[in-house]
């Protein structure tokens, strides 16, 4: 329970805390002292892993397929998944984004039964599949932000731009702010700004001028703050992070196998969840990565020693 609360606090913006390792973990830490593979001994594995995009490619395929299903349902009129990412019907059954639904009901001061049904279904789904898996496996903004991030990293390597980290608690502040604004003004400011909705609608109903705002966000992320929207603003991601706190689909960490060379933290959108891979940090020999994890699998792909893996808790290993 304590670890769930720790995870939730981490999602809301608290910095990772260090606890003394258990006896078993301490033994592994001790055994690694002096004999853990040095980075130069791992160069071949690191190189090989850097070219491995297995999970990223699967994920992009799923993301594109889901968004294409929305588009085709309208354009070819196959009617499987009608609506857009804020609210839709899958074969007639309501689906609705949890945070957007909450905002609309706060603004309306009225409980819309269809939204409650749709949002509950979605909450249950991501509660099982791993909260922020929505972000990396479905969200179209996540995809374009990943490309912007690649550009940012390339420019940063050349020293043209640099990242300016912002306190992650800002995202929690936005989460509350947008809710309070909806309640007080009766209008949903967030839904007007929401790049996920703008992109989803553009993919289905055609390009719009609102895409300029999305482009502005991406430029900001390239030149000033890496993955700023996802890390510091998006209340949709925060909501799914909270909902997925106990999700059985996890990325898990194996202390024994870890070389502590830190490749995983470099690629991670939410690298604070991987602080436990820093040498001497892990409190247990096996650990689950916390609820802010988007289950994107970049760390799984890049880990040169297989210490990070997908796992379905309660069932045998996926991989």
């Amino acid at each position: 329970m304590a670890s769930v609360l720790d995870g939730l606090a981490l999602v809301l913006g608290r910095a990772p805390r260090r606890h003394p390792p258990s006896a078993a973990a301490a033994a592994i830490h001790a055994s690694k002292r002096g004999r853990a593979p040095k980075k130069h001994e791992l160069l071949e594995e690191i190189d090989e892993a850097a070219g491995n995009h297995t999970w990223r490619n699967r994920r992009w395929a799923v993301l594109v397929a889901i968004n294409l299903l929305f588009t085709l349902s309208f354009w070819v009129d196959v009617q499987l998944l009608e609506g857009s990412l804020t609210a839709s019907r899958l074969l007639g059954f309501h689906l609705a984004d949890v945070y957007s639904s909450a905002l609309v009901m706060l603004a309306q001061k009225h409980v819309a039964v269809n939204l409650v049904i749709g949002a509950s279904t979605v909450a249950l789904f991501w509660g099982l599949l791993g909260g922020r898996a929505f972000c990396s496996w479905v969200c179209p903004y996540h995809l374009v932000a990943e490309w912007a991030e690649m550009l940012h990293l390339r420019l940063a390597r050349r020293g043209i731009v640099s990242d300016h980290p912002i306190h992650r608690g800002v995202r929690t502040a936005f989460w509350v702010l947008f809710g309070v604004l909806a309640l007080v003004t009766g209008q949903t400011l967030f839904l007007a700004l929401n790049p996920i909705g703008i992109l989803s609608r553009a993919a289905i109903y055609g390009a719009s001028l609102a895409l300029v705002w999305v482009a502005a966000l991406l430029v900001f992320e390239v030149v000033y703050a890496r993955r700023a929207w996802c890390r510091y603003v998006c209340p949709i991601g925060l909501t799914y992070g909270l909902l997925g706190a106990k999700a059985p689909v996890r990325v898990t960490y194996d202390l024994e196998a870890c070389a502590h060379e830190g490749e995983c933290r470099k690629v991670c959108e939410v690298s604070h969840v991987l602080d436990l891979t820093i040498k001497g940090r892990a409190e247990e020999p096996k650990l689950d990565i916390g609820p802010d994890c988007t289950r994107c699998g970049l760390c799984v792909d890049i880990c040169p020693t297989g210490a990070l893996r997908y796992e379905l808790k309660g069932v045998k290993r996926l991989l």
Binding site: Q108, A112, H164, G197, I198, L209, Y232
Partner: protein, 244 residues
């Protein structure tokens, strides 16, 4: 870190696409049937577009960034494609998951999206006593309309439906509501009336669907729908329950 937070906040608050127009809408928009009062409607819409998808004539489009809070919210451009109720079921209302399009409405006669008004009487063919032969809006017009005597179930392109009217009366002929909403009356002598001249009269049954605006052969349309208008915002209906 603090400076970064301030920059992020400033960017969000000052960004022009949602920030400025939300203070004041540029113009009134015609909304789909059953839309709540404008402010409540904007707050209640989740911007999913399910109403767009079910409309058989695709009358509904989503507003763009210039509409501030209205970005992604459904609108109808009646002159391009009016709602002709050819779904028979108020499908958009049934599709709306939030109740922004009110489920309280059961039939098209209860809709009050706006009110038709003869905005340019000097262009009205009926008042000039002129006929309408051929296409109402020309061969390039994309709009659809249900012609019940041709095909009860499928709306057809207006560009494939030629008219042959002694004196133009399309606004009355094609009104999905009927004579409780609009009727053709002899043009009074005081307004230049004479043999063969008549004038449309909008009546209390008008739902503001915009079909009359779409079918009007005058360019620009002689009759238009004022979005959100109602009888209390206008002069009182005339003796026949109508007014021009």
């Amino acid at each position: 870190m603090l400076r970064g937070g301030v920059v992020t906040l400033a960017l969000l608050v000052l960004q022009p696409l949602a920030g400025i127009p939300l203070a004041r809408r540029l113009r009134d928009r015609l909304r789909p049937p059953g839309a709540l009062a404008e402010e409540a409607f904007l707050g209640a819409c989740i911007k999913c577009g399910q109403c767009v998808q079910v409309c058989p004539v695709q009358a509904i489009t989503l507003a763009d960034a210039g509409d501030g809070f209205g970005v992604g919210v459904p609108t109808i451009e009646a002159r391009e494609q009016a709602c002709d109720f050819s779904c028979d079921a108020l499908s958009c209302i049934l599709a709306c998951p939030t109740g922004a399009l009110s489920h309280g409405l059961k039939q098209k006669e209860e809709v009050r999206a706006g009110l038709a008004r003869l905005a340019r009487p000097e262009l009205c063919l009926a008042r000039r006593g002129e006929p309408l032969r051929g296409l109402a809006r020309g061969p390039g017009f994309q709009g659809l309309l249900r012609y019940e005597d041709v095909d009860r179930w499928n709306p057809l392109p207006m560009a494939r439906h030629a008219y042959d009217r002694e004196v133009c009366d399309l606004c009355v002929l094609e009104c999905p509501i009927g004579e409780s909403a609009i009727a053709m009356l002899p043009l009074p002598a005081a307004e230049g009336g004479g043999p063969g001249r008549s004038t449309p009269e909008v009546r209390s049954g008008c739902v503001g669907c915009g079909v009359c605006e779409m079918v009007c052969p005058a360019e620009p349309a002689a009759i238009v729908v004022d979005p959100r208008a109602n009888w209390s915002s206008r002069r009182k209906p005339g003796p026949a329950g109508g007014l021009v």
